[in-house]
């Protein structure tokens, strides 16, 4: 069995004459936490739509756990997705929101209850199992969204700027917990963010994309062991190195304030 969960080869996405992604190649191993960093409008969403199985690419190939996507015989990938906003169904309780995702998964129905309890326990929200999403805070809703992504036993989880709409205190606490959750569950995470500091704190590797059309500018391995501290000066140091490195490919013309 291959160790690669997601492999992207020569990926290109175009909309008519407009090119969003150009010749993108990367490989993500099982259990890795990979951050994707790129300037606004560089083509990250187009790339996410392809690796989530929503849209076929204009060129190139994508493999999920060794199986090629977008062929006549291929199935859509089994993934969890944490969106920028929680996208929970407000007319369903926390448990029912998780059950909806489970209904389309390969998890047997007999295991749902235990699975839901386990995941809600990991995220410290078991007491909200029968609550309506409207009764929860922004951070709690995003935890439920993460629980929904984890509960389906995904090949990998895509997180599209999941903390960007939260206040800094909540985002900080969730960031810290996220690293623990990922370590405990061993799930593979692809985390899209605008924040270089966040990427350095969370990820094992950072794929730095160029300004649109998105190309891989650098595949950066974060040289820090875990657990990490968000206020660690070494994180600021690495952040500074990355900022210096993206000046030209992001067309920043000497500005240093990109995060």
């Amino acid at each position: 069995m291959t160790d690669s969960v997601l492999r992207v080869e020569d990926l290109g996405v175009s909309y008519g004459a407009s090119e969003a992604v150009r010749k993108l190649d990367f490989d993500i191993k099982r259990g890795e936490f990979v951050a994707i960093l790129g300037p606004s409008g560089c083509g990250k969403s187009s790339m996410l739509n392809v690796i989530s199985g929503l849209n076929a690419p204009s060129r190139g190939r994508v493999w999920v756990e060794g199986a090629k996507l977008f062929t006549a015989a291929s199935k859509a990938p089994r993934l969890g997705y944490v969106f920028q906003s929680h996208r929970l169904l407000p007319w369903r309780t926390v448990r029912q929101n998780l059950e909806i995702a489970l209904a389309a998964s390969s998890v047997p129905k007999a295991e749902w209850e235990a699975k839901i309890d386990e995941i809600l326990g990991i995220l410290h929200i078991r007491q909200f199992k029968d609550a309506w999403p409207m009764r929860l805070s922004g951070g709690q809703r995003q935890r439920v969204s993460i629980a929904r992504a984890l509960v389906v036993d995904p090949s990998y989880i895509l997180m599209d700027e999941p903390l960007s709409t939260l206040d800094e205190v909540t985002a900080r606490s969730l960031r810290q917990e996220l690293t623990g959750i990922v370590q405990r569950t061993g799930v593979t995470v692809i985390f899209v963010t605008h924040s270089i500091r966040e990427a350095v704190f969370l990820a094992d590797r950072i794929l730095i994309l160029s300004r649109g059309p998105a190309r891989l500018h650098e595949d950066f391995t974060v040289p820090l062991s875990r657990p990490r501290n968000y206020d660690d000066p070494r994180i600021s140091e690495i952040e500074g190195q990355i900022i210096a490195g993206v000046q030209a490919p992001w067309g920043l013309g000497g500005q240093r304030d990109v995060a």
């Binding site: 169904l89 209904a103 389309a104």
Partner: protein, 260 residues
């Protein structure tokens, strides 16, 4: 003793403002009615004589027979128009190509005055039950379709994408993701459909039916018994309002309980 009085809030603070407003409106309406009855006698009957007529109607077997007949017609037209309108609205709202085809037809259907449908239905189908049923369904369904269509199109597309990513089966998307978003619109459509249905049923009965509340009102009018016209109309309006608030109001509370 003085302490007890001080701790009891004044009476006017305990009456809900909505109730006060409703009471003022009701008393104003009675006052206008009374003034009009003094100035337009005998065409506008007095309040007390109308109340006596209401009592007489409530004790009359003929009235109840007409009432039940009209109620049956209202309910059948309401159900048919709501179902047909919702299905058409859903179909148009979910499919751009279908919308291109149906949009001009819907605009035309909404522009045609309701009596035109009623007259054409009577001319085509005669004065039997079918004419009224068909006319009402055709008159009300476009309004329902329009409400449902616009709400289907205004649904949260982010939830559609979530459903797609999690591979929710089509029936689950329809039942668990789309339908709950349409509940407020469907309830609005049902209220509208009900309100329009009972008013049009009365018109249809007045124009082309030998029985029912509309026919009874029209017969009283021909005999210039204005007290009976007012009495039958008032009973019927109150009954329809109670049904709307009782049945549809409860349904709304039940279906949208998660909001509270």
């Amino acid at each position: 003793m003085s302490r007890d009085i001080a701790m009891t809030p004044p009476l006017h603070l305990r009456v809900p403002p909505r109730l006060v407003a409703a009471l003022v409106a009701f008393i104003s309406m009675l006052a206008i009615w009374h003034v009009m009855s003094l100035n337009f006698r005998p065409w506008v009957p007095g309040i007390s004589s109308t109340l006596l007529a209401i009592e007489a109607q409530l004790g009359s077997a003929a009235f109840w027979s007409n009432f039940l007949l009209t109620l049956g017609r209202v309910l059948s037209a309401f159900v048919a128009a709501t179902l047909a309108g919702s299905a058409i609205g859903l179909f148009i709202g979910l499919n751009k190509r279908v919308e291109v085809f149906f949009q001009p037809l819907l605009a035309l259907a909404l522009a045609v005055p309701d009596p035109v449908y009623i007259i054409f239905a009577i001319l085509a189908l005669g004065t039997g039950e079918a004419a009224g049923f068909v006319a009402l369904t055709i008159a009300v369904a476009p309004f329902v379709a329009n409400i449902v269509r616009s709400n289907v199109q205004a649904r949260d597309h982010d939830l559609d994408q979530m459903a797609q990513i999690y591979h929710l089966p089509r029936h689950v998307r329809l039942w668990a993701v789309l339908a709950p978003q349409l509940v407020p619109a469907l309830l609005t459509a049902m209220r509208f459909s009900f309100a329009l249905s009972w008013k049009l049923v009365v018109v249809v009965e007045a124009i082309g039916q030998p029985d029912g509340i509309g026919a009874q009102i029209f017969n009283s009018f021909r005999l210039l018994r204005m007290r009976d016209v007012a009495a039958v109309a008032i009973i019927f309006i109150i009954a329809m309002q109670l049904m709307e608030r009782g049945v549809l109001g409860r349904l709304e509370k039940r279906l949208l309980h998660w909001r509270n």
